[in-house]
């Protein structure tokens, strides 16, 4: 998109923050939000990766999410970076620079923490037909409870809720155990972030910050880990990803700030 005086939007969409020294070698041959050109804004030791947009709240639909993600992928092949959450629009270029200047020390430190490292995801999925049935067979206590509740025909609503709660608690215990085992096994590789499983089928959800030179060690460790789990748990490894789980830039928009100040 041409950046001519009259038509250039004033807002800047923010994708990421990278070290200023990476800018000279960056190839930003990727379309940003609305197909706009993606460019760096350098300030001190940092550079923000931005594109011009009309200041507005961006709709989190696929087209926009994909553009955000594509820019991040292009960057991560070339430098270490701080990923910024989707949807952050600054009112002007000056605002972006002020933002970098105000937080230079913290951002430099966070960048240092992810330098030469990539995020790998590990997700364990329970491949069984019926999760409840699976736990009933695994746990005599749960089976006894189920049998009692169903002994006199259709159980009451309260009984069902109680049984459901017991199941949820057992599930949680197992998920905690699986996570602990994985962390124990992988802790020598790099920092680990344990995420809450997002469904009953999900046994495990971890992110590991792997030093680029340790990828083989990581792969080996996962291969050793897999057979220590229940045979019904399938381990899926994904990545490398930008360090979403190891950097947290919380950027608040003006309206939110105004709201909190009220």
């Amino acid at each position: 998109m041409a950046r001519d005086e009259n038509s250039t939007p004033k807002g800047r969409y923010l994708y990421s923050v990278v070290p200023a020294e990476a800018v000279d070698k960056l190839e930003l041959d990727v379309a940003g939000i609305d197909g706009a050109e993606v460019h760096p804004l350098v300030c001190g030791a940092l550079a923000a990766i931005v594109s011009d947009v009309e200041p507005r709240e961006l709709r989190p639909e696929r087209r926009n999410l994909a553009a955000h993600s594509a820019v991040m992928r292009t960057l991560m092949d070339q430098t270490h970076l701080l990923p910024v959450a989707f949807g952050i629009v600054a009112g002007s270029e000056r605002e972006v620079r002020e933002l970098l200047a105000d937080h230079e020390a913290e951002m430099v430190e966070q960048l240092e923490g992810v330098k030469d490292r990539v995020e790998m995801g590990i997700r364990g999925v329970l491949r069984v037909e019926d999760i409840f049935q699976y736990f009933v067979e695994k746990l005599p206590e749960l089976r006894r409870m189920r049998d009692e509740v169903y002994a006199g025909g259709e159980p009451s609503r309260e009984e069902k809720i109680e049984l459901g709660q017991a199941f949820a608690e057992y599930l949680q215990e197992f998920q905690d155990e699986w996570a602990d085992a994985a962390v124990e096994h992988l802790r020598s590789i790099g920092r680990i972030r344990v995420n809450e499983p997002r469904s009953e089928e999900e046994a495990l959800n971890l992110a590991v910050l792997v030093p680029r030179g340790e990828m083989e060690a990581f792969t080996r460790a996962v291969e050793e880990l897999a057979p220590t789990f229940d045979e019904h748990i399938e381990l899926n490894v994904t990545g490398p990803w930008p360090p979403y789980n190891f950097v947290d830039l919380r950027i608040r928009s003006g309206e939110e700030e105004a709201e909190e100040a009220r």
Binding site: P60, S69, G91, S199, R252, E256
Partner: protein, 71 residues
Amino acid sequence: MIAPPIVIGTPLMWIFRTVHRAAMDELKNERRNIRARLSELYRDLERGEITEEQFDEKERKLLDQLDELER
């Protein structure tokens, strides 16, 4: 169930002064939540954890919810 947005360590509190000034209301949190869920949904698609069809269906539902709130 979808997890809340990821928060790690001590968050940097960045403050942006402008952007646009939309109406403020208590629905803000819910809107923020839906937006975060859409971001996660796309990440799941990228990671091959959900199919295109699953993405489309969930995206439509979440965007509908968002539109509903913005009305």
